[in-house]
């Protein structure tokens, strides 16, 4: 009994570690878009893969995201495919250009997101 209990404890710890390490492509997308909706762009920035973060600094990224005339209101994942350490998703985003009298209504934009596993964590692959 103790042996089984110990095994379950070990499995539970490993599973928890895996969740904390990364919840997979879907978890990445959820973090990526939810932080952008809250305009927590510093957190959004951490979702990108290393080559992007090497080329664009966090300060530059946050500055320009804040200047973006479009604000993200919501997202819907239409499809998600994973093959090994790569994944892709089709997502419908809803934006609004707040304060713009010429485009006051929310509008949809369909995007493809590519993702890659980098050192065990899933990241948004830009190029």
């Amino acid at each position: 009994m103790k042996r089984y209990f110990l095994a379950f404890m070990i499995i539970g710890v490993l599973a928890a570690a895996g969740c904390q390490r990364g919840a997979g492509p879907k978890g990445l997308l959820q973090k990526y878009f939810s932080t952008a909706m809250k305009k927590d762009f510093a957190a959004t920035y951490t979702c990108y893969y290393a080559p992007y973060r090497a080329k664009i600094s966090e300060a530059e990224y946050v500055k320009h995201r804040l200047e973006d005339p479009a604000t993200l209101l919501g997202y819907k994942i239409l499809s998600l495919k994973q093959q090994g350490d790569a994944a892709s998703a089709v997502v419908v985003l809803t934006f609004i250009k707040k304060g713009d009298p010429k485009q006051p209504k929310p509008f949809p934009v369909t995007v493809s997101e590519n993702m890659i596993k980098e050192h065990g964590d899933w990241r948004i692959k830009v190029w």
Binding site: A36, Y48, A50, P51, Y52, A54, K55, I56, S57, E60, Y61, H64, R65, L66, E67, D68, P69, A70, L72, V91, L93, F95, K97, G99, D100, K102, Q103, F107, V109, V111, S112, E113, I124, V126, W127
Partner: protein, 540 residues
């Protein structure tokens, strides 16, 4: 009497000068003297560095004319007795590329010039092109394009990008390929630029007077480029070239945004370009190419300093200043841009100020083209009055051009010139120079020319032609002349290969073409790229 005295003393004077010129000797390592029988001479000195570093290159040879010297172990050199004038200096060293740079030697003085050497090619790399039948060169025409963050107050520049391409059949002597193929392009993640750009919400306001005496509108459907109707994906047309005939393909006016569709800030966007055989549908070649675009054209560095809402205020303040500054408006030809803006009417700068980039002519009383007006006002004087002391008003960025042009963050300058330590001023001059009344923008003579600084016999543009429109014309094998654009092998101005990434950056899309075909990030140097079973590395 006086004349006879002159004739008596002149030969003596000449003898004295001749004896002095015959003197002099050879110094220690790193210095040298040219032998001159007569005439004024000067000295050239400095360092030879490995490009992008402060590591001196020892035992490098510096040659000017018939005289030469060898650098010391720290890369220092001094070469005296060089004839006065403008001459190409050549520098070479083992394990480095040879370089040349024009130097100006003044009489009895020392010209200081440092040279930068690029490491030699790795000739052990087997080019990936070896296994290909076609190679597709593609590039952005300028290295960076600018657009505004916000178009609700006025427009200086619409979103407008240009991609060009040339296709080479490696198994044919009939090149470049300009028929029987379709060149496609697709801007990755940038199919909906209107989602993050408000240009199309205001473009019905923008028009200009054209050279035919009529007007041209910049009104375009959402996500469609102005003037050409280009989209963010499509096919390229044949590139018009009256000087050289049709050599390649082009798409102009791509309405690229610096934002990806999902909001990612991405000024180094990538386009996929491929060549498809029209008869079989087979993809003959495919490359990734950079489509650089930046909104870091930042008027608000001086006209306002906060976020988007204040940006609108900053732009509105520009309009107000334009209406009320006595050096612009005067009393007889005042503008009313701010009052128009308040009543909902906004303008394109080129509505009044000629802009050769768009094809706009001066109108409505304007006497200066747009680049001249902008740089003259911000960098010089108007009617004898210095209107802005650039050195005190500009934000503390280097170079000061980055107050308005991309930019401290977006790397407009990321080519080998930047790698060699050159700045905008080295090629473009000062703000006042760019605003000179003698300068016609976007023409040969107004933009920097490679042949000004580098051996014009081998590295100059075609006569009276900009670099981006020039073709190779001094190939060792003359059969290559007139086939390839300079940009096909060397990439865009501002991003000349080898491009330099920001410190710590590990992905540089500018290098994707040479990496795809050559296996390194140099300019195209390996003859094998285009010619099967041919080795060699000399093209000029």
């Amino acid at each position: 009497m006086k004349r006879s005295k002159f004739y008596l003393w002149a030969p003596v004077a000449l003898m004295v000068f001749a004896l002095a010129a015959c003197g002099g000797g050879v110094g220690g390592p790193g210095s040298g003297t040219a032998t001159q029988a007569h005439g004024s001479t000067g000295t050239l000195s400095g360092y030879v560095y490995q490009i992008g570093t402060t590591n001196g290159v020892g035992s490098a040879t510096v040659t000017v004319g018939t005289s030469s010297t060898t650098t010391a172990s720290d890369g220092s050199y001094s070469l005296s007795g060089i004839a006065v004038g403008n001459s190409p200096a050549y520098v070479s060293a083992t394990n480095y590329q040879k370089t040349s740079y024009n130097v100006v030697i003044n009489a009895n003085s020392t010209t200081t010039n440092n040279f930068n050497l690029t490491p030699a090619y790795n000739t052990s790399i087997t080019p990936p092109a070896n296994s290909m039948n076609y190679v597709l060169f593609a590039w952005n025409n300028l290295g960076i394009h600018c657009c505004q963050q916000d178009y609700s107050a006025f427009s200086a520049l619409p979103p407008y990008n240009v991609l060009e391409a040339q296709l080479i059949n490696r198994n044919s002597t009939s090149n470049p390929v300009i028929s029987g193929v379709t060149i496609n392009y697709w801007l990755v993640n940038k199919q909906n630029p209107s989602s993050h750009l408000n240009f199309w919400e205001y473009d019905s306001n923008f028009w200009f007077h054209n050279s035919s005496g009529g007007t041209t509108s910049l009104n375009a459907a959402k996500n469609v480029g102005v003037l050409t109707g280009a989209l963010t994906n499509g096919t390229m047309g044949l590139r018009p070239d009256s000087a050289n005939g049709t050599l390649g393909f082009e798409v102009a006016g791509i309405p690229a945004s610096a934002y990806d569709d999902d909001g990612t800030w991405d000024p180094y966007g990538v386009a996929i370009v491929n060549a498809v055989d029209n008869s079989t549908g087979a993809v003959l070649a495919q490359v990734n190419v950079e489509v650089p675009i930046s909104t870091e054209m930042d008027c608000k560095n001086c006209h306002g300093t906060t976020n988007l809402d204040s940006t609108l205020s900053a732009f509105a303040s520009i309009l107000y200043d334009h209406d009320n500054d006595p050096n612009i408006s005067g009393s007889s030809n005042g503008t009313h841009l701010y009052t128009d803006y308040q009543s909902g009417t906004i303008h394109l700068c080129a509505e009044c100020h000629a802009d050769p980039a768009l094809g706009a002519v001066n109108a409505e009383g304007a006497t200066e083209n747009l680049p001249q007006a902008m740089h003259h006002f911000h960098g010089g004087s108007v009617n004898g009055t210095v209107v802005m002391d650039w050195t005190t008003t500009a934000q503390n960025v280097t170079p000061d051009c980055f107050n308005c042009h991309p930019g401290p963050n977006t790397q407009c300058m990321r080519g080998i010139m930047a790698r060699a330590g050159k700045s905008c001023h080295d090629c473009h001059g000062t703000v006042a120079d760019v605003g000179s009344a003698n300068r016609t923008p976007w023409t040969a003579g107004s933009l920097p020319m490679c042949g000004t600084c580098h051996d014009p016999a081998h590295y100059a543009e075609n006569s009276n032609t900009l670099y981006q429109n020039s073709v190779l014309k001094d190939a060792p094998n003359r059969a290559m002349d007139g086939i390839l654009y300079c940009e096909a092998c060397h990439n865009s101005p501002h991003a000349e290969l080898i491009t330099t990434a920001k410190a710590g950056a590990i992905n540089n899309a500018d290098d994707s073409v040479p990496e795809a075909y050559q296996g390194d990030n140099y300019w195209i140097h390996n003859c094998n790229i285009c010619h099967p079973n041919k080795s060699g590395y000399v093209h000029h």
